[in-house]
C-alpha cells in the first residue's frame, strides 16, 4: 500500500523518481526545479537510491549526459526549467531521433526577457516540435504519478521515445500538498526493467546518431512522426494500467461538467483546479459551463479533443504562452486547426493569461466566461486577447 503523506511537490517528485530504479540522473539546478535536483542528489548521496548522479556544469551537458547514458541502456532522468530547457533545446530532437526513452521533469517557468522566475508555459512551447511525448499535470499527486508512469510509456517497446512532464513552477513545485506515495513494491510491480532497443557496448558495436543526408533524412523524419503518433495508444494503455493498480484514473483529455455544456473552457496544467471552481460558481448561476483539461500535449489527442468540444457553442482556449506575431496562443492555434475540417464546431476564443506568474483567481475565469457569453455578435471569436493586461 502507498503511504499518505505531505511534502513539497518538487521533493515528492524526486522521491517518486527514486522509486523507479533509475540508473543515472544528470540534473543541473535551476529555479523552480532546484528542489528536484537537490533532493534527488540527497537520496543518491544517502544511499537510498542506487544510481549515478552526474553533477554536470550546464543543462546542455545534462541532456548530453542522459543521451549518452540512455544509449548504454541505463534508465536515465533529468529535470530542468525555463532557460535551462532553452539551453537543452538543440539536443531534444536528437534524443527523440535516437529513440532514447529519457524522462524529464520541467518545472515550467517564463522564459527571459525580461528575467522572470515565475510560472507560465513559454519554456515548453518552443520545444513542441522536438519529437518528445509531452504531458501536463494539475496537482502534486499527478506530478508524482506521471513521474513514474513516464518511464513505462517511454520504455514501452512500441514507443521508445523521451517523455517530458510539465509541472507548473512554484504553483505546483513549491506547494506542500497531501498525496499518496506508492510503495517500492508497488512501483516494482508496475514498472518492468528497462529493455533498450540497442546499447552501446564493445561486445556488439553499433553507431547511434549517425549522419544522414537527403537520401534518407525524409524517411527518418516520417518514421519519427509515425512513432510519436503511435505512442498515443500506449499512453492510454499505461494510464489504464495505472488506474487499475492505484485507483487514480487518467485520460488524455480530462473533462469537468462538459456533457451538457454550452460554453467550455480549455486549460493545461495547474490552472485547471482554479478554473474548476469557476465552473461550479457559473453552474450555480444557471450557466451551462464546462471545463476541458488537456493532459497530453504531444502526441496531440485530436479525436479525444474533438469528441468533448464539438457540441459546445463556444470554446475558450486559455494559453500561458504567446506565439509573437502569430495566430495567438500555441494551444489555440492547435485547437483551431484540429477543428477546421469539422462541420460541427464551437466558436473558438483565446485568452493569453497568467504570463510570468501573474495570478489568475477564480473571478478572472468567470470574467472570461462572461466576456465570451456577452459577445453575441461573435466579434471576439477566432482571435485572441491578453487577459488582464493594463490598457
Amino acid at each position: 500500500m502507498g503511504k499518505r503523506m505531505g511534502m513539497e511537490v518538487a521533493m515528492a517528485v524526486a522521491e517518486a523518481v527514486g522509486l523507479c530504479n533509475i540508473d543515472m540522473a544528470a540534473v543541473y539546478p535551476i529555479t523552480p526545479q532546484s528542489h528536484i535536483a537537490e533532493h534527488l542528489s540527497d537520496l543518491v548521496a544517502n544511499g537510498e537510491v542506487d544510481a549515478e548522479f552526474v553533477t554536470v556544469e550546464s543543462e546542455h551537458s545534462a541532456m548530453s549526459a542522459v543521451i549518452g547514458a540512455s544509449g548504454t541502456g541505463a534508465r536515465s532522468y533529468t529535470a530542468t526549467s525555463s532557460q535551462g530547457l532553452m539551453y537543452m533545446h538543440e539536443l531534444l530532437p536528437i534524443a527523440s531521433a535516437m529513440r532514447l526513452p529519457i524522462t524529464m521533469a520541467i518545472a515550467n517557468r517564463a522564459v527571459s526577457g525580461p528575467l522572470n522566475i515565475l510560472n507560465d508555459h513559454s519554456d515548453i512551447m518552443p520545444q513542441r516540435d522536438s519529437g518528445w511525448i509531452s504531458i501536463f499535470v494539475e496537482n502534486g499527486q499527478e506530478a508524482i504519478d506521471m513521474s513514474i508512469i513516464a518511464f513505462k510509456i517511454a520504455e514501452h517497446q512500441d514507443v521508445m521515445l523521451p517523455v517530458n512532464i510539465n509541472i507548473d513552477g512554484f504553483q505546483l513545485t513549491h506547494m506542500v500538498e497531501p498525496f499518496e506515495m506508492p510503495s517500492q513494491e508497488e512501483v516494482n510491480k508496475f514498472l518492468p526493467p528497462f529493455v533498450p532497443h540497442a546499447t552501446l557496448h564493445p561486445a556488439k558495436p553499433v553507431t547511434m546518431g549517425a549522419f544522414a543526408m537527403s537520401d534518407y533524412f525524409p524517411e527518418i523524419m516520417k518514421a519519427k512522426d509515425e512513432a510519436l503518433k503511435n505512442s498515443k495508444k500506449v499512453v492510454v494503455d499505461v494510464f489504464n494500467e495505472w488506474g487499475k493498480m492505484f485507483g487514480r484514473n487518467y485520460k488524455l483529455v480530462e473533462t469537468y461538467k462538459t456533457d451538457d455544456a454550452e460554453v467550455i473552457m480549455l486549460t493545461m496544467g495547474s490552472m485547471g483546479e482554479t478554473a474548476q471552481m469557476a465552473i461550479d460558481q457559473l453552474r450555480a448561476k444557471g450557466i451551462k459551463a464546462g471545463l476541458v483539461k488537456l493532459r497530453l500535449w504531444r502526441p496531440f489527442p485530436f479525436e479525444e479533443i474533438k469528441a468533448v468540444i464539438k457540441n459546445a457553442k463556444k470554446l475558450i482556449v486559455t494559453d500561458r504562452a504567446i506565439s509573437f506575431g502569430g495566430p495567438g496562443g500555441p494551444v489555440f492555434s492547435e485547437i483551431k486547426s484540429a477543428m477546421y475540417a469539422e462541420t460541427q464546431r464551437p466558436l473558438i476564443y483565446n485568452y493569453i493569461y497568467g504570463l510570468g506568474g501573474r495570478d489568475v483567481p477564480v473571478g478572472d475565469f468567470i470574467g472570461m466566461f462572461e466576456r465570451v457569453i456577452a459577445d453575441t455578435a461573435n466579434q471576439l471569436a477566432d482571435t485572441y486577447e491578453f487577459w488582464g493586461v493594463r490598457e
Partner: protein, 92 residues
Amino acid sequence: MALKTWKELPIGCVVSEPGSASEYHTGSWRSQRPVWDNQKCIKCGICYVFCPEGCVQQMEDGFFQADMDYCKGCGICAHECWPRAIKMIEEG
C-alpha cells in the same frame, strides 16, 4: 543497393554494422582533385598527416596518392605541402 523505406529503418536508425561508413563514397562530392608532382615531393608525409579524410596513402615507392573513392577535394594537402608538390586540378 536499394534505399530503405521509412518502415524498414531500424529504431533510432542505429547502425549495427561497424565500419559501414566506408560504403559511403565521399569522393562523389569532389570538384577538384589533388595531383602530386613526384619531382618536387620529398616524401615528408605532411599530406598524409593533414588529410582529414585519412585517404592519403603512401605507396611502395614512398610517394603518396589519394584514394579517389573518398577524397573530397578539400585541398588541405595541397595547402600544407610546403615543397609545393601538390596541385589541385579541376575535375572535368
